[in-house]
Protein backbone atom coordinates (compact mmCIF):
# COMPACT_ATOMS: atom_id res chain seq x y z
CA UNK A 1 0.00 0.00 0.00
CA UNK A 2 1.36 3.38 -0.98
CA UNK A 3 1.47 6.41 1.30
CA UNK A 4 0.07 9.83 0.46
CA UNK A 5 3.07 11.39 2.21
CA UNK A 6 4.60 14.36 0.35
CA UNK A 7 2.52 13.80 -2.77
CA UNK A 8 0.05 16.59 -2.17
CA UNK A 9 0.57 20.21 -1.24
CA UNK A 10 -1.98 22.71 0.02
CA UNK A 11 -1.29 26.00 -1.73
CA UNK A 12 -4.21 28.05 -0.51
CA UNK A 13 -6.84 27.98 2.22
CA UNK A 14 -9.79 30.09 3.23
CA UNK A 15 -12.24 30.07 6.10
CA UNK A 16 -15.28 32.24 6.66
CA UNK A 17 -16.33 33.46 10.08
CA UNK A 18 -17.91 30.58 11.98
CA UNK A 19 -20.85 31.06 14.30
CA UNK A 20 -24.51 31.91 14.16
CA UNK A 21 -24.47 33.50 10.74
CA UNK A 22 -28.08 34.58 10.63
CA UNK A 23 -27.26 37.10 7.92
CA UNK A 24 -25.53 34.67 5.58
CA UNK A 25 -26.63 31.82 3.40
CA UNK A 26 -24.42 28.87 2.48
CA UNK A 27 -23.49 30.58 -0.79
CA UNK A 28 -22.17 33.66 1.03
CA UNK A 29 -19.99 31.55 3.30
CA UNK A 30 -18.66 29.42 0.45
CA UNK A 31 -17.77 32.49 -1.61
CA UNK A 32 -16.07 34.16 1.36
CA UNK A 33 -13.94 31.09 2.10
CA UNK A 34 -13.19 30.23 -1.55
CA UNK A 35 -12.06 33.70 -2.58
CA UNK A 36 -9.78 33.93 0.45
CA UNK A 37 -8.26 30.63 -0.73
CA UNK A 38 -7.93 31.80 -4.35
CA UNK A 39 -6.15 34.92 -3.18
CA UNK A 40 -3.95 32.97 -0.79
CA UNK A 41 -2.92 30.57 -3.60
CA UNK A 42 -2.61 33.35 -6.14
CA UNK A 43 -4.72 31.50 -8.67
CA UNK A 44 -7.73 32.33 -10.77
CA UNK A 45 -11.02 30.50 -10.14
CA UNK A 46 -10.73 29.25 -13.73
CA UNK A 47 -7.61 27.27 -12.75
CA UNK A 48 -9.66 24.86 -10.66
CA UNK A 49 -9.98 21.57 -12.54
CA UNK A 50 -12.13 19.55 -10.14
CA UNK A 51 -13.83 20.03 -6.80
CA UNK A 52 -14.96 17.99 -3.83
CA UNK A 53 -17.73 19.23 -1.60
CA UNK A 54 -18.35 18.00 1.92
CA UNK A 55 -21.64 18.68 3.67
CA UNK A 56 -24.20 16.67 5.60
CA UNK A 57 -27.17 19.02 5.19
CA UNK A 58 -27.97 17.64 1.79
CA UNK A 59 -31.63 17.08 2.49
CA UNK A 60 -32.29 20.67 1.58
CA UNK A 61 -29.53 21.49 -0.92
CA UNK A 62 -29.73 18.31 -2.95
CA UNK A 63 -27.35 15.40 -3.02
CA UNK A 64 -25.03 16.50 -5.84
CA UNK A 65 -22.45 19.20 -6.31
CA UNK A 66 -24.76 22.03 -7.28
CA UNK A 67 -24.39 23.77 -3.93
CA UNK A 68 -20.82 24.48 -5.01
CA UNK A 69 -21.30 24.89 -8.75
CA UNK A 70 -23.73 27.78 -8.39
CA UNK A 71 -21.99 30.17 -5.99
CA UNK A 72 -18.48 29.57 -7.37
CA UNK A 73 -19.56 29.39 -11.03
CA UNK A 74 -17.82 26.05 -11.36
CA UNK A 75 -20.20 24.78 -14.01
CA UNK A 76 -18.30 22.64 -16.46
CA UNK A 77 -15.88 20.89 -14.13
CA UNK A 78 -16.49 17.70 -12.16
CA UNK A 79 -17.80 18.24 -8.63
CA UNK A 80 -18.21 15.35 -6.23
CA UNK A 81 -20.20 15.61 -3.04
CA UNK A 82 -18.99 13.52 -0.12
CA UNK A 83 -20.34 12.90 3.35
CA UNK A 84 -18.97 10.98 6.30
CA UNK A 85 -20.51 12.22 9.52
CA UNK A 86 -18.37 14.79 11.36
CA UNK A 87 -15.30 13.77 9.34
CA UNK A 88 -16.99 15.16 6.22
CA UNK A 89 -14.66 18.15 5.75
CA UNK A 90 -11.61 15.93 5.95
CA UNK A 91 -13.30 13.46 3.62
CA UNK A 92 -13.51 16.14 0.92
CA UNK A 93 -9.79 16.89 1.31
CA UNK A 94 -8.94 13.21 1.36
CA UNK A 95 -10.74 12.41 -1.88
CA UNK A 96 -9.44 15.50 -3.66
CA UNK A 97 -5.93 14.49 -2.59
CA UNK A 98 -6.18 11.05 -4.15
CA UNK A 99 -7.47 12.46 -7.44
CA UNK A 100 -4.56 14.89 -7.65
CA UNK A 101 -2.01 12.32 -6.45
CA UNK A 102 -2.96 9.94 -9.26
CA UNK A 103 -2.24 12.67 -11.79
CA UNK A 104 -5.79 13.13 -13.00
CA UNK A 105 -5.89 16.81 -11.96
CA UNK A 106 -3.22 19.39 -11.19
CA UNK A 107 -5.34 21.74 -9.10
CA UNK A 108 -8.38 20.73 -7.11
CA UNK A 109 -10.66 22.34 -4.58
CA UNK A 110 -11.84 20.78 -1.31
CA UNK A 111 -14.76 22.54 0.34
CA UNK A 112 -16.62 21.86 3.56
CA UNK A 113 -19.66 23.85 4.59
CA UNK A 114 -22.71 23.64 6.76
CA UNK A 115 -25.64 25.94 7.35
CA UNK A 116 -27.49 24.91 10.50
CA UNK A 117 -28.92 28.16 11.89
CA UNK A 118 -32.12 29.38 10.32
CA UNK A 119 -32.76 26.02 8.66
CA UNK A 120 -34.92 24.51 11.37
CA UNK A 121 -32.04 22.31 12.50
CA UNK A 122 -32.92 21.20 16.04
CA UNK A 123 -29.47 20.09 17.21
CA UNK A 124 -27.32 17.10 16.55
CA UNK A 125 -28.57 13.70 17.46
CA UNK A 126 -32.10 14.36 18.56
CA UNK A 127 -33.44 10.86 18.85
CA UNK A 128 -30.28 9.71 17.11
CA UNK A 129 -30.34 6.24 18.60
CA UNK A 130 -30.71 3.53 16.04
CA UNK A 131 -32.43 1.08 18.35
CA UNK A 132 -36.17 1.63 18.72
CA UNK A 133 -36.32 0.78 22.41
CA UNK A 134 -32.93 0.93 24.07
CA UNK A 135 -31.90 4.14 22.40
CA UNK A 136 -35.05 6.17 22.42
CA UNK A 137 -34.10 9.82 22.33
CA UNK A 138 -30.43 9.27 22.98
CA UNK A 139 -28.64 12.52 22.18
CA UNK A 140 -25.02 13.45 21.54
CA UNK A 141 -24.57 15.01 25.02
CA UNK A 142 -26.10 11.96 26.68
CA UNK A 143 -23.84 9.61 24.73
CA UNK A 144 -20.75 11.50 25.81
CA UNK A 145 -22.12 11.80 29.34
CA UNK A 146 -22.05 7.99 29.47
CA UNK A 147 -18.45 8.15 28.36
CA UNK A 148 -17.61 10.77 30.97
CA UNK A 149 -19.13 8.84 33.86
CA UNK A 150 -17.51 5.63 32.74
CA UNK A 151 -14.12 7.23 32.24
CA UNK A 152 -14.20 8.98 35.60
CA UNK A 153 -15.40 5.81 37.27
CA UNK A 154 -12.46 3.84 35.98
CA UNK A 155 -10.09 6.59 37.00
CA UNK A 156 -11.52 7.00 40.46
CA UNK A 157 -11.19 3.29 41.08
CA UNK A 158 -7.59 3.31 40.01
CA UNK A 159 -8.48 0.68 37.43
CA UNK A 160 -7.59 2.49 34.29
CA UNK A 161 -9.13 0.32 31.66
CA UNK A 162 -8.04 -2.92 33.18
CA UNK A 163 -10.37 -4.98 31.05
CA UNK A 164 -9.27 -8.21 32.62
CA UNK A 165 -10.93 -7.19 35.85
CA UNK A 166 -14.17 -6.14 34.19
CA UNK A 167 -17.19 -7.64 35.78
CA UNK A 168 -20.41 -8.33 34.02
CA UNK A 169 -22.50 -5.29 33.20
CA UNK A 170 -25.10 -6.26 35.75
CA UNK A 171 -22.75 -6.46 38.69
CA UNK A 172 -21.21 -3.20 37.62
CA UNK A 173 -24.59 -1.56 37.68
CA UNK A 174 -25.26 -2.89 41.16
CA UNK A 175 -21.91 -1.64 42.32
CA UNK A 176 -22.64 1.74 40.83
CA UNK A 177 -25.81 1.96 42.80
CA UNK A 178 -24.35 0.86 46.10
CA UNK A 179 -20.99 2.56 46.31
CA UNK A 180 -20.51 4.64 43.18
CA UNK A 181 -17.60 7.05 43.28
CA UNK A 182 -19.82 10.04 42.85
CA UNK A 183 -21.59 9.43 46.11
CA UNK A 184 -18.37 10.51 47.74
CA UNK A 185 -19.09 13.91 46.37
CA UNK A 186 -15.63 15.26 46.00
CA UNK A 187 -14.24 13.42 43.04
CA UNK A 188 -16.29 15.03 40.34
CA UNK A 189 -15.83 18.50 41.79
CA UNK A 190 -12.10 18.03 41.90
CA UNK A 191 -11.88 16.69 38.40
CA UNK A 192 -14.12 19.39 36.99
CA UNK A 193 -11.89 22.07 38.39
CA UNK A 194 -8.51 20.75 37.59
CA UNK A 195 -9.12 18.58 34.60
CA UNK A 196 -12.12 19.67 32.62
CA UNK A 197 -11.84 23.39 32.72
CA UNK A 198 -8.16 23.63 32.19
CA UNK A 199 -9.15 22.36 28.78
CA UNK A 200 -11.21 25.45 28.16
CA UNK A 201 -10.43 26.86 24.78
CA UNK A 202 -8.25 29.76 23.91
CA UNK A 203 -10.02 32.59 22.25
CA UNK A 204 -6.87 34.38 21.18
Amino acid sequence: MESIKDKIAIIGMGCCKFGENWDKGPEDMIIEAAYEAYEDAGIDPKDIQAAWLGTVGAHWIGMGGLALAEPLKLQGIPITRVENWCATGHEALRNASFAVACGMYDIALAVGFEKLKDTGFPGLGIGRGMHPVMEMRRTAPSTFAFIATRYLWFKSRGRQRDYSQDRSQESQKREYASKGPFSKGDYLGASRKSSYYCLASWIV
Binding site: K5, A9, E83, N84, C86, F121, L124, F144, I147, V204
Partner: protein
Protein backbone atom coordinates in the same frame (compact mmCIF):
# COMPACT_ATOMS: atom_id res chain seq x y z
CA UNK B 1 -14.16 28.72 35.56
CA UNK B 2 -16.84 29.57 38.12
CA UNK B 3 -19.32 30.21 35.32
CA UNK B 4 -18.45 26.94 33.64
CA UNK B 5 -18.75 24.86 36.82
CA UNK B 6 -22.10 26.40 37.72
CA UNK B 7 -23.53 26.18 34.20
CA UNK B 8 -26.76 24.23 33.77
CA UNK B 9 -26.30 20.50 33.34
CA UNK B 10 -27.09 19.23 29.85
CA UNK B 11 -26.48 15.53 30.48
CA UNK B 12 -24.78 14.83 33.77
CA UNK B 13 -21.87 15.32 34.31
CA UNK B 14 -21.66 17.51 31.20
CA UNK B 15 -22.70 21.10 31.72
CA UNK B 16 -23.48 23.74 29.13
CA UNK B 17 -19.85 24.71 28.59
CA UNK B 18 -18.77 21.10 28.25
CA UNK B 19 -20.69 20.92 24.99
CA UNK B 20 -19.98 22.61 21.67
CA UNK B 21 -22.78 24.41 19.90
CA UNK B 22 -24.14 23.97 16.40
CA UNK B 23 -23.14 26.73 14.05
CA UNK B 24 -22.63 27.81 10.45
CA UNK B 25 -19.38 27.88 8.50
CA UNK B 26 -17.41 27.09 5.37
CA UNK B 27 -13.74 26.32 4.77
CA UNK B 28 -11.80 25.67 1.58
CA UNK B 29 -8.47 24.12 0.58
CA UNK B 30 -6.79 24.33 -2.81
CA UNK B 31 -4.41 21.48 -3.47
CA UNK B 32 -1.91 20.53 -6.11
CA UNK B 33 0.77 17.91 -6.69
CA UNK B 34 3.73 18.41 -4.37
CA UNK B 35 6.18 18.80 -7.27
CA UNK B 36 4.15 21.72 -8.67
CA UNK B 37 3.60 23.49 -5.36
CA UNK B 38 6.59 25.84 -5.38
CA UNK B 39 5.32 27.38 -8.60
CA UNK B 40 2.45 28.82 -6.61
CA UNK B 41 4.07 29.81 -3.34
CA UNK B 42 7.27 29.49 -1.31
CA UNK B 43 5.60 27.98 1.72
CA UNK B 44 3.14 25.28 0.65
CA UNK B 45 2.00 22.80 3.27
CA UNK B 46 2.40 19.13 2.45
CA UNK B 47 0.07 16.33 3.43
CA UNK B 48 2.01 13.72 5.40
CA UNK B 49 -0.71 11.20 6.09
CA UNK B 50 -4.46 10.64 6.07
CA UNK B 51 -6.11 7.90 8.08
CA UNK B 52 -9.81 7.12 8.09
CA UNK B 53 -11.64 4.49 10.04
CA UNK B 54 -15.19 3.54 10.90
CA UNK B 55 -16.70 0.75 12.92
CA UNK B 56 -20.40 0.43 13.49
CA UNK B 57 -23.66 2.33 13.55
CA UNK B 58 -24.00 1.17 17.14
CA UNK B 59 -20.43 0.72 18.36
CA UNK B 60 -21.56 0.58 21.98
CA UNK B 61 -23.45 -2.65 21.29
CA UNK B 62 -20.21 -4.38 20.38
CA UNK B 63 -18.74 -6.58 23.11
CA UNK B 64 -15.40 -4.75 23.34
CA UNK B 65 -16.84 -1.23 23.61
CA UNK B 66 -16.05 0.06 27.09
CA UNK B 67 -17.02 3.77 26.87
CA UNK B 68 -13.51 4.94 27.73
CA UNK B 69 -11.89 5.19 24.29
CA UNK B 70 -12.67 5.42 20.60
CA UNK B 71 -11.36 2.55 18.51
CA UNK B 72 -11.95 4.55 15.32
CA UNK B 73 -9.60 7.34 16.40
CA UNK B 74 -6.92 4.84 17.39
CA UNK B 75 -7.13 3.09 14.03
CA UNK B 76 -7.23 6.27 11.95
CA UNK B 77 -4.23 7.59 13.88
CA UNK B 78 -2.32 4.38 13.33
CA UNK B 79 -2.88 4.65 9.57
CA UNK B 80 -1.81 8.28 9.42
CA UNK B 81 1.24 7.76 11.65
CA UNK B 82 2.32 4.82 9.53
CA UNK B 83 2.09 6.86 6.32
CA UNK B 84 3.97 9.77 7.85
CA UNK B 85 6.53 7.56 9.57
CA UNK B 86 5.68 8.86 13.02
CA UNK B 87 6.74 6.56 15.84
CA UNK B 88 6.25 8.80 18.87
CA UNK B 89 3.36 11.19 18.24
CA UNK B 90 3.81 13.14 21.46
CA UNK B 91 7.40 14.01 20.59
CA UNK B 92 7.18 14.25 16.81
CA UNK B 93 3.97 16.27 16.42
CA UNK B 94 4.26 19.99 17.14
CA UNK B 95 0.61 20.94 17.40
CA UNK B 96 -2.84 19.42 16.95
CA UNK B 97 -6.42 20.50 16.44
CA UNK B 98 -8.81 17.81 17.65
CA UNK B 99 -12.54 17.14 17.73
CA UNK B 100 -13.44 18.46 21.19
CA UNK B 101 -17.22 18.17 20.79
CA UNK B 102 -17.42 17.61 24.57
CA UNK B 103 -14.74 18.19 27.21
CA UNK B 104 -14.52 14.50 27.97
CA UNK B 105 -13.98 13.76 24.28
CA UNK B 106 -10.84 15.85 24.18
CA UNK B 107 -9.46 14.06 27.22
CA UNK B 108 -10.02 10.69 25.59
CA UNK B 109 -8.66 11.85 22.23
CA UNK B 110 -5.32 12.66 23.91
CA UNK B 111 -5.09 9.01 24.87
CA UNK B 112 -6.43 7.62 21.59
CA UNK B 113 -3.94 9.66 19.54
CA UNK B 114 -1.09 8.46 21.73
CA UNK B 115 -0.38 11.89 23.22
CA UNK B 116 -1.01 10.57 26.74
CA UNK B 117 -0.78 7.08 28.21
CA UNK B 118 -4.18 5.46 28.78
CA UNK B 119 -5.95 6.93 31.75
CA UNK B 120 -3.32 9.65 32.20
CA UNK B 121 -4.73 12.51 30.12
CA UNK B 122 -5.77 14.43 33.21
CA UNK B 123 -2.26 14.37 34.63
CA UNK B 124 -0.94 15.77 31.34
CA UNK B 125 -3.59 18.47 31.29
CA UNK B 126 -2.70 19.44 34.87
CA UNK B 127 0.97 19.60 33.84
CA UNK B 128 0.13 22.04 31.03
CA UNK B 129 1.24 19.67 28.29
CA UNK B 130 -1.44 20.79 25.85
CA UNK B 131 -1.40 24.51 26.67
CA UNK B 132 -0.29 27.03 24.06
CA UNK B 133 3.21 27.12 25.57
CA UNK B 134 3.18 23.44 26.51
CA UNK B 135 4.95 20.45 25.10
CA UNK B 136 2.25 19.72 22.52
CA UNK B 137 -0.23 22.59 22.06
CA UNK B 138 -3.74 21.40 21.18
CA UNK B 139 -6.66 23.37 19.78
CA UNK B 140 -4.70 26.57 19.44
CA UNK B 141 -7.61 28.12 17.56
CA UNK B 142 -10.15 27.39 20.28
CA UNK B 143 -11.56 24.17 18.86
CA UNK B 144 -15.21 23.27 18.52
CA UNK B 145 -16.04 25.02 21.81
CA UNK B 146 -15.05 28.28 20.20
CA UNK B 147 -16.26 27.82 16.62
CA UNK B 148 -19.25 25.58 17.17
CA UNK B 149 -19.65 22.59 14.90
CA UNK B 150 -20.92 23.18 11.37
CA UNK B 151 -20.59 19.50 10.62
CA UNK B 152 -19.22 19.44 7.07
CA UNK B 153 -16.98 22.47 7.59
CA UNK B 154 -15.21 21.56 10.83
CA UNK B 155 -12.54 19.27 9.36
CA UNK B 156 -11.25 21.89 6.96
CA UNK B 157 -11.48 24.62 9.61
CA UNK B 158 -9.09 22.52 11.72
CA UNK B 159 -6.79 22.04 8.73
CA UNK B 160 -6.88 25.81 8.18
CA UNK B 161 -5.43 26.44 11.63
CA UNK B 162 -2.68 23.86 11.11
CA UNK B 163 -1.95 25.34 7.66
CA UNK B 164 -1.55 28.86 9.07
CA UNK B 165 0.48 27.68 12.05
CA UNK B 166 2.90 25.68 9.90
CA UNK B 167 3.40 28.77 7.72
CA UNK B 168 4.19 30.81 10.83
CA UNK B 169 1.04 32.89 10.46
CA UNK B 170 -0.48 31.95 13.79
CA UNK B 171 -0.30 35.53 15.07
CA UNK B 172 -0.66 35.64 18.87
CA UNK B 173 -1.36 31.93 18.89
CA UNK B 174 1.78 30.98 16.97
CA UNK B 175 3.40 27.77 18.16
CA UNK B 176 7.19 28.08 18.06
CA UNK B 177 9.00 26.00 15.46
CA UNK B 178 5.86 24.20 14.34
CA UNK B 179 6.74 21.74 11.58
CA UNK B 180 4.30 18.85 11.88
CA UNK B 181 0.61 19.35 12.67
CA UNK B 182 -2.33 17.02 13.18
CA UNK B 183 -6.04 17.61 12.58
CA UNK B 184 -8.58 15.10 13.84
CA UNK B 185 -12.31 14.62 13.38
CA UNK B 186 -14.63 12.18 15.10
CA UNK B 187 -18.25 11.54 14.24
CA UNK B 188 -21.22 9.27 14.31
CA UNK B 189 -22.13 7.46 17.52
CA UNK B 190 -19.04 7.72 17.60
CA UNK B 191 -18.39 5.61 14.54
CA UNK B 192 -16.06 7.51 12.18
CA UNK B 193 -12.73 9.23 12.61
CA UNK B 194 -10.27 10.92 10.29
CA UNK B 195 -6.71 11.83 11.27
CA UNK B 196 -4.71 14.07 8.93
CA UNK B 197 -1.06 15.07 9.23
CA UNK B 198 0.62 18.08 7.65
CA UNK B 199 4.18 19.31 7.40
CA UNK B 200 5.91 22.41 6.06
CA UNK B 201 8.92 20.56 4.68
CA UNK B 202 8.63 18.22 1.72
CA UNK B 203 11.21 15.91 3.27
Amino acid sequence: MEQAVKAPIIAWPLGLFDCCGNSDGAAVAIITRADLAKKFRDDPIYIKGIGLSQNSMMPHFQPGFDWTGFEVTQRAARQAYEQAGIKNPRKEIDLAVVHDCFTITELIIYEDLGFSPKGKAREDVDAGTFALDGELPVNTDGGLKCFGHPVGASGLRMSYEIYKQLQGKGDKRQVKNAEIGLAHTLGGHPSVSCVTLYGNDRG
